[in-house]
Symmetry: D3
Subunit: 249 residues, 6 copies
């Protein structure tokens, strides 16, 4: 199946999904979300673990070019698309391991929170810069992040948009493991998991997610609705347009 925004491969029981919009810093589009979902679905019967990421950058976040025309209902629906992918990672039968290179920003970082294991390159940079555009984070940036780094550090990241280096991200618990070569380490972890009995892998992941995520679905939708609300503000619209104009120069 030929994809436009990702490349895929399967090796020794591990499915690889490489984001392939490096010219746009792997910013996330609806098409890309659909292709990732579709690739995951295809790999479910033949793979036992998934490795996902971008070779140069993980992702600089949602592609802002999609935003200027959205009314609040459409913004809410867009956010729900992102949430669905996050929930799909969590409910997917097999472990999803992300490798984090380069920019891991906004929607990119937020999606990584819902992968099962996060391997971070030592020179990655991580940030939730959405506030600068007048929007709130998606895919759990407000409602999952506090469970990952604590309420206070989450607020620090969310309200300032501060850029963290890999070491600080590790200290905050924002990533699980630091590695010189994140793709190699993620692949190694996938291979280890592939040697484990598949029914146990499945049930162990299920037990963890079922018991640590009870309110997450509701909270994600609440977050999405607030995201929609923010799209009725002129300040948000102006900031989005300014951001796009600056980039285009």
């Amino acid at each position: 199946m030929p994809y436009k925004t990702i490349k895929t491969a399967e090796e020794n029981g591990t499915g690889f999904i490489y984001f392939d919009r490096e010219d746009r810093l792997n910013t996330i589009t609806v098409e890309m979300i659909n292709e990732i979902s579709s690739a995951l679905s295809d790999m479910e019967s033949t793979c036992r673990s998934i490795v996902i990421g971008g070779k140069k950058n993980f992702s600089a976040g949602a592609d802002v070019l999609q935003f200027p025309e959205l009314n609040p209902s459409e913004a809410y629906e867009f956010h729900r698309k992102l949430n669905e992918l996050a929930l799909y990672f969590r409910e997917y039968t097999w472990p999803v391991i992300s490798f984090l290179n380069g920019y891991v920003f906004g929607g990119g970082l937020e999606l990584s929170l819902s992968t099962d294991i996060r391997v971070c390159s030592r020179d990655a940079q991580l940030s939730q810069p959405e506030i600068g555009l007048g929007i709130n984070a998606g895919a759990g940036g407000n409602v999952i992040l506090p469970h990952v780094v604590g309420r206070n550090r989450a607020l620090y990241m969310i309200l300032t948009g501060a850029r963290l280096n890999a070491q600080t991200a590790y200290e905050f618990g924002l990533v699980d493991i630091l590695a010189g070569n994140a793709l190699e380490e993620a692949t190694r972890i996938g291979q280890v998991i592939n040697t484990k009995p598949e029914n146990t892998v499945k049930l162990a992941k299920r037990a963890v997610n079922n018991t640590s995520s009870s309110h997450i679905k509701t909270n994600l939708d609440y977050e999405a609705a607030l995201f929609g609300i923010l799209f009725s503000g002129q300040d948000t619209k102006d900031r989005i347009n300014n951001f796009i104009k600056k980039k285009e120069k």
Copy 2:
């Protein structure tokens, strides 16, 4: 408005609240709680972020001189006053950033847990010493602290009253950021937040607090009720009186 226990200032959209009972190590009194609340309320319409703390010490905890005469109902009500301030920080429209210098003990540390972002000076000392007086912690020292540092490290701090240095506090996640000059760094963070669109700041803080605090109000009141119960014990009364006598010498 002239305050007795705090000093206030406003600069570039940030409100500053300085504790001003350094001769008593900024120990917290009901008057001081009322004045902090009142200052926050006054600043709500003119400021966009709050920076709060003490120039030499954050606070050595609740002022024990208030305790000897309390019966359990009064102790419960005193604790609820402290809880109200903690909840006010959480529900306050704008981000509240604490800077932690010197002693950050007991009720002082506990209040800092409910500020949004905590910047800690490298030479601060942090502790929950209440157990030595026969009382339990207030403002979430039993029910919020475990969400911040984990159940086990919380029990270690609560049951031993151990004094942590800034580095350990950072490793525990008890503070968010270490800084040489905590006040300057807190001010800088406030300035960054002031550049962000105000409606988004407001909703982002709301989304985080609404979803990470669902049981906190109930738990705070449970904690307050146990605090009251402890005031009917002779051992607690004796320890409080001994503590006061020792200090007075």
Copy 3:
């Protein structure tokens, strides 16, 4: 009371429970669970704190020799025994401090999660290797661990069975304090707690556990039921038998 699998002592108000199956790496049996419970119960009226662990190794996990004959109902009941001990630690009147030496694996590590304070020797090794046997973890390895180290790091440990050194365990928040001599440090902590007023120690522990564990009992039983389910799989049975055969050579 003469025990077969543990040794006990009482000193200055602290009860000591030493695991005493070092020839079997202190692997846990039903008899050992019963003896620990019984020792705790005996010490309740005379002690004010408990220190528990193994002098060379904490424990290499549940003794696998008990597993080959279990049907799913029996496996579920075995797991519930382990859960009961974990819940007993949490509900025990006095603080339970574990000292972690050598191997801290599987059921051993999981029990330590439910002690109140965990002191870790700098040369300890920590791991949840159950997945290699086709079983899921017990005593909270799926449902408490995510609250201790976060969902993602929990999945990393659970799905790969990776062995962590003490420093990484400390960074993950898997242990509370590192010490050169874990038993000495645990003893010192116990002594500090013994100087605190007993009613306050009791209520402070109760407040923390009541408010941070609301769903844990249900989640533990869910985990136990899944454990039972896994015992009907041939793969799990084979892995257990292979593991035992390899050990016996």
Copy 4:
């Protein structure tokens, strides 16, 4: 204090708040919400119970004349105003008893859910008709109602806008007590409560509300955000305008 939309009285320790827009069927405006809050606040120190309602009708819901001009942010803020009153009823020191006459529709019914005790006249009619206008219910019509009548009966009411008579409302648990004269019975209940010791009344109400409402605040805000989202839909706008035109003829 002269109010425009309500009348107030105090008798034997009970405060009475009568809705006074009978010409508009006591439909709720922002002014009326503010006046009710203000009256409650004034009565707090002199009264021990509150009786609230309308002599002919409780309320036909929010006044739709306020809706045509609202954008999603403004709709969200309007809904939050209603939520604040509902939360104020719950957190108010003294019991709030509603007497339900005539039309008890939409926002009127929803506010009554958050009063403490609901006395219903035998000829009252109760309904959540919002769906017909393309909006969702406010003040808990989606998130509190299911706790009151069960998820299924809530959905029946919400999705069909069905009008219930008093007997069915009683069978559903939507009201607590049926009475020939609801105001008299509410007054009698208030008088009984006034004979009880005030501190106990206060703490008993607090214990019930703290423990049965843990997620309600978050859920109310989620509901409000969805309400805002719906205001960006043309269908909703058209239905509101048609409804107003029909009424004006």
Copy 5:
């Protein structure tokens, strides 16, 4: 699409799913679950409400003929199939209205709990008889039922297998509405809902389900795991086989 176990129709925007195994009292098989799911999926784009049930009987429960050969893992998976249909009803875009005729037993009754609105014929009989076979209920019979009728009445039904008539079921809140002709009344309700604006119907259902079901998914899986556990008991096996033999005579 020709189905074997159900019949379907669409009329005025309502999709109808009629169970069509009346010779087997509409007992539920995996094939039937699959066909219902498939029919729902087909109707999603063309219908706005669903009416579901059996013309003579709703369903006498899961078809016991599937049980004798199941090991615990298979029993767990079977139960999960039923749970998935229950969750699908809840998450389905449009309202699902069940009409309850004749026997509404076991898995049949339990599935009806997860439909949105339940219309009950006055001569229906309702029961959870599973306990007589040594199995526990599926699709929420242990974990959703208590939310519907209260913990105590749930235990009464679950532990005795008592058969309730329609009037008692209504008084318990086990059904929402009594009707002479349940299919007609369910159809009428569907028609009313079809006149409402579709986006609002969708969001109102979402708000109710998101906020009233937070733990249901986890609880359903726990229930399923216990169901599996019970299949390792000889008593359960014997009771299932005896039941089948009796029926076959």
Copy 6:
């Protein structure tokens, strides 16, 4: 084993516990709580269901003669004793069926909430009159009752102390079944349950209680702490003493 405050019997697998302080209207003492616990423990291995109640009256509540001397800590501990019995009913292996005759007041009613099935005589009277004495209810009267009858009806009962007849209690869901002879009906239900396979009875009860009670233990302790707090008020003390004096005349 000869008991002073209860009589016991075993018949056809059912254990019977009859309250035997009819001269004191079966008011509950610490001795009685201990004897009930002890009887339950004795019956666990020989019985499969329990029937519990009083032949003339269920119980008029806690025996007030125990109250005048209690300080807040002691009051808190007394309340915790009652809570422990309520939790023991819930966690007891076998179903506990209460039969409710005559007075079912205060602590008596509250204990019945935690039995599994409640059979009510048509001439019973039910009430939570504690408020009249200045105390709050025990054993869940504030924190379990709202789950049984809804928040509003709970507040009505708690704040007014209103006496309900059996029919209203049934309509509120406060009792499960009405019977002419409650003891006979309870016995019949016990006999039906005894015919069911014991492992299934055990797991079904466990599944229901585990999933519907997650916060109850914490909430019970919060309730107990508030109970203690109220004992430091003079008004409460006076009301208790007056009540006792009136009775003694």
